[in-house]
Structure formats: structure tokens, C-alpha cells
């Protein structure tokens, strides 16, 4: 079964954009999620990410991230109220219990909810990234910066799903032995999986060596110094320069919105848009700066919206010719 967070190629703007543009856009929203504590701003960031994910066709990833985020948020709230004794409004007295707070306060509840909301927002950002940004293109973009790390990351990103598929196959095989067969323990399954992974790793290493990955990377030939007067620009470009990454017509859109979100986030922070205090009593800032920033963030979720295909006179058919 395929993970809901796995990348699926689609033709939407977010999938078509270059990895740097997509990372700039989603990273700016995740940064706002890390920077802010005001629940209005966090909720708007979350809404933007949900909208972006849905428009990019990553419905399953968004649904799974919301479910995981909610579960995580509930866990954080439960832990926070049980261990934090700050806050003015006492809801329940727990008495003297080891390791736990002696009271449950409304403020600890609110603080836990805000931490949970932040975790959910960051989770959403990574879920949309994972489902909409091609990992191969990301690794390809990183290759000039860190060749070995990129190779390692590529291998891991290939081998982990293979190992997961192996595990599923082994489980299926064990189940198909019939109801009378002795159950297969997890340790035995893990042992078999590890042995298989090691075999596969040896094969991969041999293949890499055969393909010359152990050699140093080829240096660009200094063509210009060998044949100074006769070197053509075209030849130099072909042998001495890195191939240029493919750009998308949507890149500019994501760069602009990402920069706008980041600038607005920093400016809002300076203007007091993050006005929120959990302790000693909850104080929520709903000033113009907060509302303006929240609106901008929510609207930024529309960035992956596909442009409606333009219908021109030459391509449209007369009414009677429609099939």
C-alpha cells in the first residue's frame, strides 16, 4: 500500500515548479508556524497549507496530516495539562502526585493546544511538501552542492520503500501459510528483512562501483586555455559549465508568495501581530496587524491554483461540432 505522503507526479503548478521555488513557498509557511504563537496566525497558516495541499491534489496527504496532527495535538495537550502547574484558572486539583502537576489549569490547556496547533501546522507543511515535490528533483538540485550526501540520500530514499515492500511481502507470505501455521514473530521477520537488506546493499555497492561512482568527479576541461583564440562559446558551455536546471513558468509565483509571507511574518512580529500570552492568564491579541497577517497567510494558500485553460476562437469548436 502506498503511503499518503509519497510523491505522486501531477501536472499542477506546485508539482511543476522547481524544487527551490516549492521549498521557498512551503518553507516560508513552515517558518511562520515556528515563529508565531498566536493561534489566529497559526490557524491561518494551517488553513493556507490545507488549501495549498487540496489545490495541488494532495488530498490524501492533507487528510493524513490533519489526522496525525490532531492526534499529536491531543497528546501534547494531555501531557501539558498533567505536568504544567502554571496558570491562574484552576479547573481540577490533582493533589500531590509524583511527577505530575498538582492542578490542571485552563491556561496549561490553552498552552498545550497552541503547541499542538503549531506541531500540526508544521506537519501539514511537510506533508504537502512530501506529496507534491519530486524528491528526485530535490536531490538533483542538491547534487552540485553535496555530491556524496545527495547520493546517500538518493539510495536511502530508494531503499527504504523497497524494504517496506519486502516487509509487506514477507508478512503476506507468512499469512498465506494458512491458519494452522505457527505465527511468525516480529524478531524473525526483522531478521529476514535485515538479511535481505544486506544482500541488496552488496548488490547496490557493486553496481555503483561498476558505474564508476568510486572515482573522483570529472573536472571541467580548461578548453579556453588550451585553444584560446579558437574556442567557441558554444563548446565552452557544453564541456565546462554545469547543465542548467529546468525552470517552470510557475516558479516566479511561488518565489514571490514565499518572500511575501516571510516578509509579512517578520514585519508582523515587529508590529506585535504575535500578541499572545498563555500565563498567568490567557491573553489573545486580535489587533489589526494580527488580522491582516492572518488574512494574507490564508490567501497565500491559493498560490498553487491552476490557471483555467484559456479557450481561444481558433481552438473552440462550433456548437454543432461538439462530440
Amino acid at each position: 500500500m502506498r503511503s499518503p505522503f509519497a510523491y505522486r507526479p501531477r501536472s499542477g503548478p506546485l508539482q511543476s515548479a522547481s524544487p527551490a521555488a516549492a521549498v521557498a513557498y512551503l518553507g516560508s509557511l513552515a517558518t511562520v508556524g515556528f515563529l508565531y504563537s498566536n493561534p489566529i496566525v497559526l490557524a491561518a497558516t494551517g488553513a493556507a497549507l490545507v488549501l495549498a495541499g487540496l489545490l495541488a491534489g494532495a488530498r490524501d496527504a492533507v487528510r493524513a496530516a490533519l489526522w496525525m496532527g490532531l492526534t499529536l495535538a491531543l497528546l501534547i495537550v494531555a501531557v501539558n495539562v498533567l505536568v504544567v502547574d502554571r496558570g491562574a484558572t484552576v479547573l481540577v486539583r490533582l493533589g500531590q502526585l509524583p511527577l505530575l502537576s498538582d492542578v490542571i489549569t485552563a491556561e496549561a490547556l490553552a498552552a498545550g493546544a497552541v503547541i499542538g496547533l503549531r506541531a500540526a501546522v508544521v506537519l501539514l507543511a511537510f506533508a504537502v511538501y512530501s506529496a507534491c515535490v519530486d524528491p528526485d528533483r530535490v536531490l538533483r538540485a542538491l547534487r552540485p552542492l553535496a555530491r556524496r550526501s545527495a547520493l546517500t540520500a538518493t539510495l536511502v530514499s530508494r531503499l527504504v520503500p523497497v524494504a517496506a515492500a519486502d516487509a509487506a511481502r514477507l508478512r503476506d507470505a507468512a499469512r498465506l501459510r494458512g491458519p494452522a501455521a505457527a505465527p511468525v514473530g516480529r524478531a524473525a521477520l526483522a531478521r529476514r528483512l535485515l538479511a535481505g537488506s544486506l544482500d541488496r546493499a552488496v548488490d547496490v555497492a557493486a553496481t555503483l562501483e561498476l558505474r564508476g561512482y568510486s572515482l573522483n568527479p570529472p573536472r571541467p576541461t580548461p578548453v579556453a586555455t588550451l585553444f584560446p583564440p579558437y574556442t567557441s562559446k558554444k563548446r565552452c558551455d557544453r564541456r565546462g559549465e554545469r547543465p542548467r536546471a529546468r525552470r517552470s513558468r510557475y516558479d516566479r509565483r511561488f518565489y514571490v508568495v514565499g518572500a511575501l509571507v516571510l516578509i509579512a511574518g517578520v514585519a508582523g512580529k515587529l508590529l506585535g501581530a504575535d500578541a499572545f500570552a498563555e500565563y498567568p492568564a490567557v491573553q489573545l491579541g486580535v489587533g489589526p496587524a494580527t488580522l491582516a497577517l492572518a488574512t494574507l497567510l490564508a490567501l497565500s494558500g491559493l498560490t498553487p491554483l491552476s490557471p483555467r485553460p484559456r479557450r481561444t476562437a481558433s481552438t473552440s469548436l462550433p456548437a454543432g461540432w461538439r462530440s
Binding site: R86, V90, L91, R93, L94, G95, L97, P280
Partner: protein, 305 residues
Amino acid sequence: MIPRRGIAVAIALLVGALAAAGCGFGPGKDLGGVRLTVSRDYGHTSLLEREVGDVTESDTVMRVLERNAEITTRYGGGFVQSIDGLEAQERFGRSSDWFFYVDGVESPVGAADYSLRGGEWVWWDYRNWEGAMSVPAVVGSWPQPFAGSYGGHPHPVAVECLGGGAACATVRSKLRAVGVEAAAGSAADAIRVLVGPWQRVRDDPVAAQIESGPQRSGVFAEFGRARGGYAMRGLGEDGKAAAAFGPGAGLVAATRRGEAPPVWVVTGVGPRGVADAAALLDTAHLRDRYAVAVEDGREEALPLR
């Protein structure tokens, strides 16, 4: 699958443990009242003085303060950042912060962790802490810590007469006037009052901390040798000498070593200073002061301004 009976037993045990631990809904039963004082600059300017009557069993120093003043906090609500807009700051070479005392003793824990039992005197003071980061005990909550239950239980009070003469009787009568009978001897957990000239009082190791300066003792006064005796000087907020007192000077101050009960010193350069210092033991002279110096009947709050 977990058996249902096991779950039921676990829930019953949990409910039983919570009930035994004293849990319940809401803030709990009323414990009476506390006195709340808010001041600045070593008690020089009073900002708030209130009898708070609705203290409950879940109340802490922070919760009581929050109900009676506009405050902001930091470090996850554990420390007070500002009270009624007066904010802790560290700039222009001055470091000022909010400190609190319960029954005249500096708390070893934060305000959010200090549970109240009712009857305490909580004093918040905003002060520059360059001269002394810690002032372990103050005299400004008189008759606390003698009359109350400092630290959660009553302590015996021992008056140690170290050549104080008639001043010792004055101290005992002042304590009696607030309902405190000095115990015979000096129990280990007693709050001690040392009465006598500095030449004698300085033999006590806790009182001798005063000679190490305010960073150690929290007392903004110093004694130095002068013509076969001692001379007293008053210190400013920066911990530096601000005024020299004459041979008739006296001092009422409190200090503390570690987690031991506080020690009060009623002392002076000579017998006259000791007698004058003993006469200061009442609310009118000590209220909201860290320590008090007296000379020829004229008293000065320490640190000097």
C-alpha cells in the same frame, strides 16, 4: 487483548489514588487571607497594599498576584516580568527585577511554585540588584517571621543576649507585644534575634556575614575597626559606602545562611546604638524596609538613597 476486568481494576485504582491525593474540581477550599505588598526601590515607594481575603488551597504567590495586579510573566509563566506595567529590565548599566518575600524571607522557589497556606505576608519589590543579587531576609514584614508560620510551620523564637543589657528586655517585650514569647535556649530550628554591640554579635557566624558585604549577607551596612572599637557605614544600592555613622549608631537587619531560619541582628557600635535599635522593633519603624540604621534617634532605611 487486555481483559476488561484489568481495565476496570486499573481505573478504580487510579480514581482511588486521585481521591487519596486530595483531588477535586475548582480551586479548593478557602484558607483565609494573605497580606500583599508591592513596592519598588527597596520598599522606598509603595505601589500596592492589600489584604487579600480569598486565598484557596490551590493558590500560589503567582495566582494571588495575578488576581490583584496586571502582570506579565516569562520563562513559561514561572517568573514575573512586570507588575502594573513596571517591567524588569537590564539596560543603561542598571539591572532591575521583581523579587518577592514571604514573611520576610526570600523564597527559594519561583512564585508559581510557592503554595500559600493563608496568613502569610507576601511582599513584591522591584529593585536594582547590582549591589546584592540576593537579599535572603528583610525586616520590613514585622512581626513576621516571628508571629506567623514561616516555612509552613511555627518556629520557636530565641533572643540571644550578647551584651545587649536592657536592650534584650526591650526586644523581648516588643516580641511579646505581637504575641510572640521568646523560647528559653536556642533550638536548632529557632528564628534567632541577636542583641548586643557589634563587637560581640560578630562572633556569631551567621551575623558575621554582614562583614563580607551585601552580596553575601543582603545587609547594606558594614562595620570596620576604628580606635579600638567599630564604626558603622551605610551602603547605597550599588553596595558602595554612602554615609558614615557615629559612635551612637544602631542597626536592625536580618540575614540568613542557606536554608536555615533567618537571624535578626539588633546591634550597634555601642550600648546606645543597641538600645536605639531595639526601640525600632515595631511596624511603624520597620514596615517595607530591608534594614534600618539609627543614630541619635534619627532612622535611615537601608540601603541609603
